[in-house]
């Protein structure tokens, strides 16, 4: 460990709360909501990797890899939905995006 675990956890919690604040502030813009989710998932990855380093176990790195795979699937689906809804409604405001039906 280069630094105590608590410093890493403090960094991760600051990062997570920044992502949460991003979601709360920009809750009308769907792109910024997705960016906030990215920041929060990165904080979770930081916790996993630092735990893996602290306890000398590779499981944390494996789950960080799974978070990366899950994020790429989630972002591709969410952005495809954004493109589809923008093509129909010409907006990215969440309050106007209520239905997915044709």
């Amino acid at each position: 460990m280069i630094v105590p675990l608590s410093h890493l956890l403090i960094l991760a919690s600051i990062l997570f709360s920044l992502g949460l604040i991003c979601v709360l502030i920009w809750r009308s813009n769907i792109i910024m909501i997705l960016i906030g989710i990215e920041i929060m998932l990165n904080a979770a990855m930081l916790v996993f990797v630092s735990g893996s380093n602290y306890w000398g176990d590779v499981d944390g790195q494996v789950f960080a890899l799974m978070i990366i795979a899950m994020t790429s699937a989630e972002v591709s689906l969410a952005l495809a939905m954004v493109v589809y809804l923008h093509r129909r409604n010409k907006t990215v405001n969440v309050d106007d995006l209520r239905e997915l039906k044709d």
Binding site: M1, I2, V3, P4, S6, H7, I10, L11, S13, I14, L15, S17, L18, G19, L20, I21, C22, L24, I25, W26, R27, S28, N29, I31, M32, L34, I35, E38, I39, N42, M45, L46, V49, S52, N53, Y54, G56, D57, V58, D59, Q61, V62, L65, M66, I68, A69, M70, T71, S72, A73, V75, S76, L77, L79, A80, M81, V82, V83, Y84, H86
Partner: protein, 163 residues
Amino acid sequence: MEQTIFYILAGVIIIATLFAITEKHPVHAIIYLVTSFFALAVVFYQLAAPLIAMFEVIIYAGAVMVLFMFVIMMLDLGSEKDAKRPTLTHCIPALVLAGVILVSLSLLAFKQSGAPPIVSPLLSIKDFALSLFGKYGVAIEIISMQLLFAVVGVLYLGRRRKL
């Protein structure tokens, strides 16, 4: 030396993320976020996870953020004038949350006694690969199914309809 680099990187991560979430222009927010992810990748490298650091650079900063940029530019959201700034009533819950988190974090940070870091065994990429494809082989299969479902869903949503 490593400690100094870590604290500098932590500062870079927090400041870049702060700029990213307060930026009105989405393209600038993406650029700040890429900076933050590069610094986070170096932190992962310092934590003896070089493979995760590489994946962070390649997949997060390289693929996911470029996908965001692609969508923003394709939908022409960057030049939009009505990217309205959130009003104060939008910001109140976030400010309350920020205050609560700041106070609780500072209480926690001053209360802890600063135990010396323990020496952990070195993890090689071989251990990582053995655990990934041995113990968690089923999870890899599930993730590949998940990516396949994502591809199918994206193809369904992105097809051109006759309007």
